[in-house]
Symmetry: C2
Subunit: 398 residues, 2 copies
């Protein structure tokens, strides 16, 4: 009597959410300081102070009826202009305000872009491990998700598999760099190879293949790591961006889609995005947030604690004998489980109050994801627990 | 190469939006004070001062990482509790925080509720005239919209037609009171008759029929008009509410779905709503707004100018010879066009700088909608134009 597909989606809480609830219960039992909860990707650092100041200033000085009024569906004209100007300047890339669509965060951006580009029976290629909701968003359009596992140990792209996976049904390829859950950043060389394959496939099949760059972690990189701007390397590109992580505003739901002016049928793609926004009930992105981020482009929250956490965890876990993917960005560490079954490993880690997400939910077996967007002190105090977990497995082998 | 259905949805700007753009152009040509733009339902009054104060206080006093962090998908627990307590108290209705789902406004609420309840081949019954996006939202689920025109001249429900329209395929009926575009409020007697028919049909077909009450205009009523609370009259009910109009916050996208605890399969319905939220990319409703409205429940913007506008327009237009539906609520006046073709009438009204929305878009011919959520002065100065338009038609008849 209800839509059973939707009910199942609603009933199957993600493993991440389950672990988070377990951690909450455990905090109550033994005290928050004794639980090492690495489950959620919820930024732990405050937003940039200019964001707060800007919001307060808008609330104090702008007429409320216009500040909180409907904007046009793709966003307020001045906000779209500011974003396009920022992109053009920061990435030396062509960008048009007419092709910027403000969204309620990256999830809405992906839903609108995928619904705009995919039809039933089409295929969308994604690289595993990947953000679990990709599957939900793609399958909700009636299209098929085609999965290309990355190569161990560095989780670079397997171009042989990729090349085989792209068929005449492929309409969309999604890249996510810096990556959730591995922290991997796609290098310029990798991106060039990827784009060369796609261009060759477009010629072969005589149809555009759109490359969607999902980049909520764009600014969160460590050291001198370069994150190539996808539309500079490939014409049929759209960027799905979110301010959730860059400005620590995940609950506020603000992001955008930027369609490359060089994309084939760019205007039609944009129209379809507008149509998808309508069909999904997105009237406009939250207006106060639109006007706020327009003034804070290029600013970020202070990520220095993420860097400290990454360095602490990565070097300590490597020293202790864990196999880790070196994270150049985002705030995740992808660690090989000490037994084949990542769920069993995650379960045993609970003995040491370590809350680690098994990688199966990211459609890649045998690993756990550590979200280190937590206070530095939590990471410091967790290190002996990781050691004890390693020793637990070592004892077993003896 | 794009999803053509979505592209068409995006390309076909609504007539309302076209008229609004025309009015914008005209304002530049002849001055804003000379254009009588009654096209958009964008509240003209500021939000309640407590809303602004509350937002500023949250921004100044709450830790940003939690204020702007992800809430749980259906909303922050304390916000859901506050809303449930408010409903229970204000409407003496059973209400459970476990069945409250915060949304990005009423459009998102409708999309999630309809996607949760409808499957392909199902039918949803709506009363015409109706909010045009109902068709988009219903058809996007694969279900069929079944239209029951209201009765002239008072736009009450035609129960004979309604009774025929409800079949064993009907899963959902939508009511919208106070109504957009007529301003009609469903009386308690009407609602009782409607519910009696639905209960009888449920028994006849042995399956629940869910009644969705879309009520963004609940608080905007004139005089001692009573707006019955639907879940008190019918068990299988869900309310889609928005703070857009009550608090003049349409751009901020904040509302909720409340599933009646008495509804058959209430928990499954709620799960399906959560699943629909996931599928459509709604991660959570904007967090700052969630915490804000929780403290402002029962407060409203000052609607006194809407009342003055209604009285002015309704009495003047009636005196001048127009046939108007008496609006007991919302901020719309539904006026019979002076010729059969409402579009032609709307076109001729432009000669007098009157921007009126033809009713065809609301799936009801022969009328225009006047959105009188505008400054009182605009209404006052528009009256001679309405008179001139009437005289224009009178001259023709002579």
């Amino acid at each position: 009597m209800v839509n059973e597909k939707m009910r199942r989606l609603g009933a199957n809480r993600s493993v991440i959410r389950d672990l988070f609830e377990y951690a909450n219960a455990r905090r109550k039992e033994i005290g928050a300081e004794n639980v090492f909860d690495f489950s959620l990707g919820n930024p732990s650092v405050p937003t940039h102070e200019d964001v707060t100041a800007r919001m307060i200033s808008l609330l104090q000085n702008q007429p409320p009826a216009s500040l909180h009024g409907y904007t046009s569906a793709p966003g307020a004209a001045e906000v779209r202009q500011a974003i396009a100007a920022y992109i053009a300047n920061a990435y030396s890339a062509e960008c048009s305000p007419e092709l910027i669509y403000l969204t309620c965060g990256a999830a809405a951006a992906l839903v609108c872009a995928l619904s705009a580009l995919l039809c039933a029976e089409d295929e969308a290629v994604v690289f595993a491990p990947f953000f679990p909701e990709y599957r939900v968003f793609i399958e909700n359009t009636g299209a098929k998700l085609v999965c290309v596992p990355c190569k161990e140990p560095d989780f670079s792209i397997d171009f042989t598999s990729f090349s085989k996976a792209v068929t005449n049904k492929t309409r969309v390829v999604i890249v996510n760099s810096p990556n959730n859950p591995t922290g991997k950043v796609i290098t310029e060389e990798e991106l060039k190879t990827l784009c060369a394959i796609l261009k060759q496939k477009e010629r072969e099949y005589g149809a555009p293949i759109y490359l969607i760059s999902d980049e909520p972690y764009r600014e969160i990189v460590y050291g001198n790591v370069f994150v190539p701007y996808v539309p500079r390397y490939y014409n049929n590109a759209a960027v799905c961006y979110s301010f959730s992580k860059s400005l620590s505003l995940p609950g506020e739901r603000i992001g955008y889609i930027s369609v490359s002016p060089r994309a084939q049928n760019a205007a039609a793609v944009f129209e379809a995005i507008c149509g998808a926004g309508r069909a999904h009930g997105y009237v406009c992105a939250p207006s106060l947030l639109q006007f706020t981020v327009a003034e804070c482009l290029g600013k970020t929250a202070d990520f220095s604690s993420y860097k400290i956490n990454r360095d602490l965890l990565y070097s300590y876990l490597c020293e202790t004998g864990y196999d880790c993917v070196r994270p150049d960005g985002a705030f995740y560490l992808f660690v090989k489980a000490l037994e084949k079954d990542a769920k069993a490993f995650s379960e045993r880690a609970k003995k040491y109050e370590l809350i680690l997400v098994p990688s199966d939910d990211f459609y890649y077996p045998g690993y756990v994801r550590i979200s280190y967007c937590v206070p530095i002190d939590t990471v410091r105090r967790s290190l002996p627990a990781f050691k004890a977990l390693m020793e637990d497995y070592a004892r077993e082998k003896r």
